[in-house]
């Protein structure tokens, strides 16, 4: 590279790159560093040590957790991909009745308030679960949900929407010519899918899978409730955070860092693989949906609707539970609206807060992730590379770590001006930004740069070209990314718990507190309300996107 005059460096995207770096430094690096240094602190003396890591890598307790984590992480991701990819393929390439419905349900699967989902599984498949009992009555003994296989099952059904949504968006942008060419060269539809389509949407699939993997590793509630002695790093770390001993959470931070390192490795591997590939197409020859007939059609519909329905089972159980009559924490057996009566006073504020914060965060996320994705995909500078890398970090940092970092950083000195609501919005923003960025990035990778170049060439300044050409083309990716951010933001618990005050309580906090008191009826009623509100939003978005879709492709 020759030295360039400063003038040429100061174009719009360079400025954006700079601003994004500053933003990440303040909202991400600063708070995290404050906490992460703890892993090198000796809990007793307060001095510097590597002892925590030595301990984590020598004690069997941690090593087992490490193995278990990898096991359920990999298997859960695999399971999610095995459901998500076919589902995406079917809905993108064939006429499936109720496509909007399927997408909506898939998103709603992600609206799984803490613990309550796992608890619902116990109500179905636990030792005394109704499905277990049903089979018992038939004389069939089925394994209970407890243990590694149960955790994997739940991960599979809980996380497949990430793979599904990302893959579906990507499939819709694969040039039909490629698939035609493969078929012309003798590929059966299945071979064509495996050899051409799959590799072409691999960036999206792998991104979805990475999200699954990272979330499986970080998921605490599921192994905590279903593990029965099967401990993962997340339960170990979480137990350490929640430990009532207080003091510096050095070991918890150390374990978190190890978890982060695992996810980080996966992400780096993915980036390595993607870096050598370019898949762009000009989007003028888009795939058309085929109408299947006969048993294939029936089987496909059964699969598509079956997957989302099974994944929705815990939610259905939760909704059902919310209508059970209760006496204190105990279900009396009848139906009633007692649980709803009991949340009548609290729910409205919490709902309003949840939506307000999540929505505010998502507006920011959508705008920023569009810009950031562009920088990552189209600018091959070192700064862009480091932004890409930093974008992985929020996935990996446990909410508690992030929240403690936020509070220590922003509740003191000159930052103290930010109110609690502002702090919550900012933390949702930074923690959920990667969903938006990842989804948008993989959309953008499929679009030929010559389209933007054409716009620039016609006199559109970078921002204009971006708004008028790039944005409309990546709308599907943006919508999916924003939805994922929205759903995960509205479900955020771990960092909210550290930050919220009485005016800013959110639904997940309410639900969590109800669970803490053993009030599952209330928790179920709150979850149902949250589900309903989110469901309406999501359905509306998909309807809108679907209509738009047909308008432009």
């Amino acid at each position: 590279m020759t030295a360039r005059p400063l003038r040429s460096r100061l174009d719009f995207w360079t400025v954006v790159t700079g601003l994004v770096l500053v933003l990440l430094a303040i909202l991400l690096i600063l708070p995290i560093l404050r906490v992460l240094m703890l892993s090198f602190v000796d809990a007793d003396t307060g001095g510097f040590t590597f002892g925590n890591y030595v301990e984590a890598f020598t004690r069997n307790y941690y090593l087992n957790g490490f193995k278990n984590t990898l096991f359920v992480g990999v298997m859960g991701t695999l399971g999610a991909s095995l459901l998500g990819i076919p589902l995406a393929f079917f809905t993108a390439r064939f006429h499936v009745r109720g496509r909007t419905w399927i997408s909506t349900l898939a998103i709603l699967v992600l609206v799984a308030p803490p613990f309550i989902g796992a608890y619902a599984w116990i109500m179905m498949l636990g030792s005394n679960g109704f499905i277990t009992n049903f089979f018992e009555a038939l004389g069939i003994s089925i394994p209970t949900i407890y243990g590694a296989h149960g955790i994997i099952l739940v991960f599979t059904l809980k996380f497949f929407p990430f793979v599904f949504l990302m893959t579906q968006t990507a499939l819709n942008a694969v040039s039909k010519s490629f698939e035609d060419a493969a078929e012309n060269l003798g590929c059966t539809p299945w071979q064509r899918f495996r050899k051409i389509t799959l590799p072409l949407v691999f960036p999206a699939i792998s991104t979805g899978a990475i999200i699954c993997f990272v979330l499986s590793i970080a998921d605490f509630g599921t192994p905590a409730i279903l593990g029965r002695g099967f401990r993962t790093l997340s339960t170990i770390a979480y137990a350490a955070y929640r430990s009532e001993l207080g003091g510096l959470p050095t070991m918890a931070v150390t374990i978190s860092i190890i978890m982060m390192a695992i996810s980080m490795l996966a992400l780096v591997a993915q980036r390595r693989i993607l870096a050598r590939r370019r898949y762009a197409s000009s989007l003028t020859n888009l795939p058309v949906k085929v109408r299947l007939t006969g048993w294939r059609n029936v089987a496909m519909h059964l699969f598509c609707h079956g997957v989302v329905l099974i994944a929705m089972l815990p939610t259905i159980v939760v909704v059902y539970t919310s209508f059970l009559d209760t006496n204190g924490p105990v279900f009396t057996g009848g139906f009633g609206l007692e649980s709803y009566r009991r949340i009548l006073d609290d729910a409205p504020t919490a709902i309003a807060n949840s939506f307000l914060f999540a929505f505010a965060a998502v507006v920011l996320i959508t705008a920023v992730s569009a810009l950031v994705s562009y920088v990552i995909v189209r600018r091959e500078t070192a700064a862009a590379g480091s932004i890409d890398f930093l974008m992985m970090v929020p996935y990996l940092v446990p909410g508690v770590v992030m929240a403690i970092g936020f509070v220590t950083t922003f509740r003191s000195g000159s930052f103290n001006l930010i109110g609690t609501a502002g702090l919550l919005i900012l933390i949702y923003f930074i923690r959920r930004l990667p969903y938006g960025v990842r989804s948008t990035t993989s959309s953008l990778r499929q679009i030929k740069p010559s389209l933007e170049e054409a716009a620039v060439n016609l006199g559109a300044p970078p921002l204009k070209a971006f708004l008028k050409v790039t944005i409309p083309l990546i709308v599907p990716g943006l919508v999916v990314g924003s939805l994922m951010s929205f759903i995960t933001a509205i479900n955020e618990l771990s960092s909210t718990l550290i930050i919220y005050d009485s005016g800013t309580i959110t639904m997940p906090v309410r639900i969590y507190l109800a669970v803490l008191d053993g009030e599952f009826g209330i928790a179920a009623a709150l979850s149902t309300v949250l589900l309903l509100c989110t469901g309406v939003c999501v359905y509306a978005v998909f309807r809108f996107a679907d209509n738009r879709d047909s308008a432009f492709v």
């Binding site: 010519s177 493969a182 078929e183 012309n184 003798g186 590929c187 539809p189 072409l200 197409s281």
Partner: protein
């Protein structure tokens, strides 16, 4: 050996009629070219034969058996795509080897054939590049190599040489023809290049607006165009109005008597003459023994390599174009000078008036 038989084929895109009543019969091993203006349905026809979409009516037979119910991947019909459709995630080698792997060819054999075909398309040194590292023309050649390496029963090519320079195009044209003959592959070739069509084909099929205008040997297409569209598309012909008074007929702008040629015809007709049949002489001199001599004013002389193109306007306002060896006497004339366009009477063709009038004599 695989003849191709297409009967009463029809294809709509919504309201747009892309193909209507297409009937084509291609003997096994022959080279059949579709020629026609942009948007006339050439790509659509190829895609229908390849099986990427289904016709709305009509049937397609290969080697005597109908293929419309065969899925695309079982038709064994190779295709070169107009937009190349190179797999972006595979190297040049893997792109070309794709079809062979699909056919379970042994890997040593694959390597050999891939290298051979890449040599043919002059891409040997690019074998390990990824598609995004290739220029437009190089990508096009990868698409060509990928389709011919599998030696299909029927080969469809959609403007496979459009992004190549004349030299390479001529080389590849010859190679294509050689391979095609050697293997006896029935080939349907789409081109927008008249010369290419006439030079390579056993049969040229001229299409327009989804309808076949004429399908015959190159010579016949060139010498005996079935209608005015074919004449103008293939020969870039000059058209001259004919005035009729009773039984006598004459060129409107030249006074040449055409009663003999047009005996037995009726209605409005136009005369056509190919640019290369026209000679141009300086000055106005209508005397010509038995030949055509149309006085005109010179509009422009342009030089296109080995030939000059002379444009003139007759007194009646008709445009004329002649193509001839450069002639200093003409090249040095100023626009506006008087010239005479000449041709032997035998080079005149006559069509019914109207954009696609049939040939009458």
């Amino acid at each position: 050996m695989s003849s191709v038989e297409i009967t009463a084929l029809r294809k709509l895109y919504g309201d747009v009629v892309a193909l209507s009543d297409i009937n084509i019969s291609i003997p096994s091993g022959s080279f059949y070219t579709l020629l026609g203006p942009s948007g006339c349905g050439k790509t659509t026809l190829l895609r229908t034969i390849a099986g990427f979409h289904r016709q709305d009516a009509g049937s397609i037979e290969v080697a005597g058996s109908p293929i419309e119910d065969l899925p695309a991947y079982r038709r064994d019909v190779g295709m070169v795509f107009q937009d190349y459709a190179i797999f972006p995630h595979l190297s040049v080698r893997d792109n070309v080897a794709f079809g062979l792997r699909q056919r379970k060819v042994a890997s040593a054999e694959i390597a050999r054939r891939v290298e051979a075909v890449l040599k043919t398309v002059q891409l040997s040194q690019f074998i390990d590049r990824m598609p995004h590292e290739l220029s437009g023309g190089q990508q096009q050649r990868v698409g060509l190599a990928r389709a011919i390496v599998i030696e299909p029963k029927v080969l469809l090519m959609d403007e496979p040489l459009s992004n190549l320079d004349a030299k390479l195009r001529v080389d590849l044209r010859a190679e294509l023809r050689r391979i095609q003959r050697e293997l006896g592959i029935t080939t349907i070739y789409v081109t927008h290049d008249q010369e290419e069509a006439l030079a390579m084909s056993d049969t040229v099929c001229v299409m327009h607006g989804g309808v076949i205008q004429q399908a015959s040997s190159p010579l016949e297409i060139y010498m005996e165009p079935a209608n005015r569209f074919v004449a103008s598309f293939v020969g870039a012909n000059n058209f001259l109005a004919v005035t009729r008074t009773g039984a006598s007929a004459a060129l409107a702008s030249g006074g040449v008597d055409l009663s003999g040629e047009l005996a037995g015809t009726s209605g409005d007709v136009v005369a056509a003459v190919r640019p290369e049949a026209l000679r141009v002489t300086a000055g106005r001199d209508e005397a010509d023994a038995g030949g055509l001599a149309v006085p005109a004013r010179l509009r422009e002389v342009s030089f296109v390599g080995r030939e000059m193109e002379v444009f003139g306007t007759t007194e009646g306002g008709e445009e004329l174009k002649a193509v001839a060896r450069p002639d200093p006497a003409i090249v040095d004339l100023h626009p506006g000078s008087e010239v005479t366009f000449r041709a032997p009477r035998s080079d005149l063709l006559f069509f019914e008036a109207g954009a696609s009038g049939r040939r009458v004599a």
